[in-house]
C-alpha cells in the first residue's frame, strides 16, 4: 500500500466521488465542494498565468506593444452592458468579434466543404460506394420537412436515411461507452496499483 500523501488523497477523493453512485452522502458533498472551489481557483491562476501574464509581460511591454491595449479596451467595453446608459458601447466589440469570426470562417470553411462535396461524388464501382450514395441521399431525404405529404419514394428514402443515421449514432454511442470504461479503468488502475499496490 502506498505511503504517499498525494496518492492517499487522490484515492480517498476517488472513492468519495464513486460513493455517489450508491447514494448522496457527506463524503461526496465535501468532495464536490472541494472540486468546485479548486476548479475556480485553478481557473483563475490558469488564466492569469497562461493568458493574461504572457500578453502583458511579453507583448504589451515590448516596443510598439501599446497596440495590445486596443483589444484590452475592446474587452473592457463588453462590460459596459452592465452600466445603465452606456450599454451601447458593448455593441462595438461584439460587432468586431462577429465580423471577424464570420470573415475568418468564410476564408477557410468553403475549401473544406468543397472537399466533402467532391468526396461524396464517387464512381459506383463497389458496394461501399453504392452504400455511401444511398445513405447520403437517404440522409438528405430524412430532413425534407417542407412537403406536407411526402411522395412514396421520398418517404422510403427518408426511412433508409433514418436507419443510416441510427447506425452511425449507435457506432458513436458504442465508442462513447468504451471510452468511458477506459476512463474508469484508468482510475481503478490507480486505486488498485498505485494505492493498494496490487496487480502486476
Amino acid at each position: 500500500m502506498s505511503t504517499s500523501l498525494a496518492v492517499w488523497t487522490g484515492a480517498l477523493l476517488t472513492l468519495a466521488v464513486l460513493s455517489y453512485l450508491y447514494d448522496d452522502n457527506p463524503a461526496w458533498r465535501i468532495t464536490e465542494h472541494l472540486y468546485v472551489g479548486l476548479a475556480a481557483g485553478y481557473g483563475l491562476g490558469y488564466t492569469w498565468q497562461n493568458y493574461l501574464r504572457p500578453v502583458l509581460a511579453n507583448q504589451v511591454g515590448a516596443p510598439g506593444g501599446w497596440v495590445w491595449l486596443l483589444p484590452l479596451a475592446l474587452g473592457a467595453m463588453l462590460y459596459a452592458r452592465y452600466i445603465r446608459g452606456w450599454e451601447w458601447l458593448a455593441r462595438f466589440p461584439m460587432g468586431i468579434w462577429i465580423g471577424y469570426g464570420a470573415g475568418y470562417i468564410l476564408a477557410y470553411l468553403p475549401r473544406v466543404i468543397v472537399g466533402q462535396l467532391t468526396g461524396s461524388m464517387v464512381d459506383l464501382s463497389s458496394v461501399s460506394s453504392v452504400a455511401l450514395l444511398v445513405c447520403l441521399l437517404g440522409g438528405f431525404a430524412t430532413f425534407v420537412f417542407t412537403l406536407p405529404d411526402r411522395p412514396g419514394p421520398l418517404r422510403t428514402a427518408g426511412r433508409i436515411g433514418r436507419y443510416a443515421i441510427l447506425i452511425a449514432l449507435g457506432v458513436a454511442f458504442g465508442g462513447t461507452v468504451l471510452y468511458r470504461f477506459t476512463l474508469l479503468y484508468g482510475q481503478v488502475h490507480f486505486l488498485v496499483h498505485d494505492w493498494l499496490g496490487m496487480g502486476p
Binding site: 464513486l18 453512485l21 450508491y22 490558469y46 498565468q49 497562461n50 493568458y51 504572457p54 500578453v55 511579453n58 507583448q59 477557410y108 470553411l109 475549401r111 473544406v112 472537399g115 466533402q116 467532391t118 468526396g119 461524396s120 455511401l132 452511425a168 457506432v171 458513436a172 465508442g175 462513447t176 461507452v177 468504451l178 471510452y179 470504461f181 477506459t182 476512463l183 474508469l184 479503468y185 484508468g186 481503478v188 488502475h189 486505486l191 488498485v192 496499483h193 496490487m198 496487480g199 502486476p200
Partner: protein, 274 residues
C-alpha cells in the same frame, strides 16, 4: 415470482458495482489482446515508415488529463516510431495542459533514444501553447518561430535551434499529426488551416468516441490516416514494435464490452417476461 422476474426490480446500483468489479478485474488480471492491425492503422504506420531520415513532422496535441488513458499510449507509440525513423519532431499544443502532456510523453520517448535525449532543439522541440491557438497554427504556415513568439514552451529562444532552420515553416513538414479529444477544437483546425491549404498529409489520433466523426474526412481524402482509440494504439504499438501499453486497455475494454452486452441482453429478456 421467478429469479428472472425479480431481476426486473433490480436496484441499478448492483449494475454499477458489476461495472466496477469487471474493471477492477481488468486491472488486477490484465487480459492482453493484441488486435490484428486494421487498414486505417496500417495506413498511418506506412506513412510514418515511408518518411526519409530527418523528415520534418509537426505534432499538434490537443488533449488534456481526461483523455490520457487512451491517447498517451498512442502518442508514445507514434513518437517512438518517428524517433526510430530519425524524424525531426516539432510539437505544438492547443492548451497549456496539452503542452505539459506532450512534454511528459515526449520526455519518456526521448529517454529511449539517445539522439533525442540530448537533441532538444535539433531532433525535437516543444513550442508549447500560445493564446489564440488557431491563429498561431495558421501563422505557422508562414513561419513557425514567429507564430510562437520566438520561444519554446519553457521560454527558451527558438533562434539558432537547428530544427527550426531545417523546418522554418509548417509547409515544409512531410507529415502533420494531431492528437485530439474533441472533434471541434482538436482536429478541425488541422484540416482547415494545415491539411487543406498546404496539402501536407494529416493524420489524426482520436479517442474511440470521435472516430465515426472522422470517417467523412478520411473518405474524402482530407485526412491521410486515422488511429482510433485504445485499439488503434495497440495496433500501432504492434506494427511499430513499440512498448506495449495499449493492449491491456483493449483487454479491459473487451471485458467491459462483454459485461455491457450481457446486461443489455438480460435487461431485454427480463423486460419481455410476462
Amino acid at each position: 415470482m421467478t429469479a428472472l422476474q425479480r431481476l426486473r426490480h433490480l436496484d441499478r446500483r448492483w449494475l454499477y458495482l458489476g461495472a466496477l468489479l469487471v474493471t477492477a478485474a481488468g486491472a488486477l488480471w490484465p487480459l492482453r489482446i493484441a488486435p490484428h492491425p486494421s487498414a486505417e492503422t496500417r495506413t498511418a504506420f506506412d506513412l510514418a515508415q515511408a518518411l526519409p531520415s530527418g523528415a520534418g513532422v509537426f505534432v499538434y496535441v490537443e488533449y488534456g488529463l481526461g483523455s490520457r488513458e487512451e491517447l498517451d499510449p498512442m502518442l508514445a507509440a507514434v513518437l517512438g516510431h518517428l524517433a526510430s525513423r530519425h524524424a525531426r519532431i516539432v510539437i505544438a499544443a492547443r492548451s497549456p495542459e496539452a503542452s505539459q502532456v506532450a512534454e511528459t510523453v515526449m520526455g519518456e520517448v526521448a529517454a529511449r533514444f539517445p539522439a533525442y535525449a540530448d537533441g532538444y532543439g535539433g531532433s525535437w522541440v516543444n513550442l508549447g501553447y500560445r493564446p489564440a491557438p488557431d491563429v498561431a497554427l495558421r501563422a505557422a504556415t508562414n513561419g513557425i518561430a514567429a507564430a510562437y513568439n520566438g520561444v519554446d514552451y519553457a521560454g527558451r529562444p527558438l533562434t539558432g535551434m537547428p530544427i527550426l532552420q531545417a523546418l522554418p515553416v509548417l509547409d515544409h513538414a512531410h507529415f502533420a499529426l494531431a492528437y485530439a479529444f474533441d472533434s471541434g477544437d482538436g482536429f478541425a483546425p488541422m484540416i482547415y488551416y494545415v491539411g487543406t491549404p498546404t496539402r501536407i498529409p494529416v493524420m489524426i489520433g482520436a479517442i474511440s468516441m470521435e472516430v465515426p466523426v472522422l470517417q467523412p474526412y478520411l473518405a474524402a481524402g482530407q485526412l491521410a490516416a486515422v488511429i482510433g482509440g485504445a485499439r488503434g494504439a495497440a495496433e500501432y504499438e504492434a506494427l511499430a514494435g513499440q512498448p506495449r501499453r495499449a493492449d491491456v486497455l483493449v483487454g479491459a475494454s473487451a471485458m467491459a464490452a462483454v459485461y455491457v452486452l450481457a446486461v443489455m441482453l438480460l435487461g431485454n429478456v427480463v423486460a419481455r417476461l410476462p
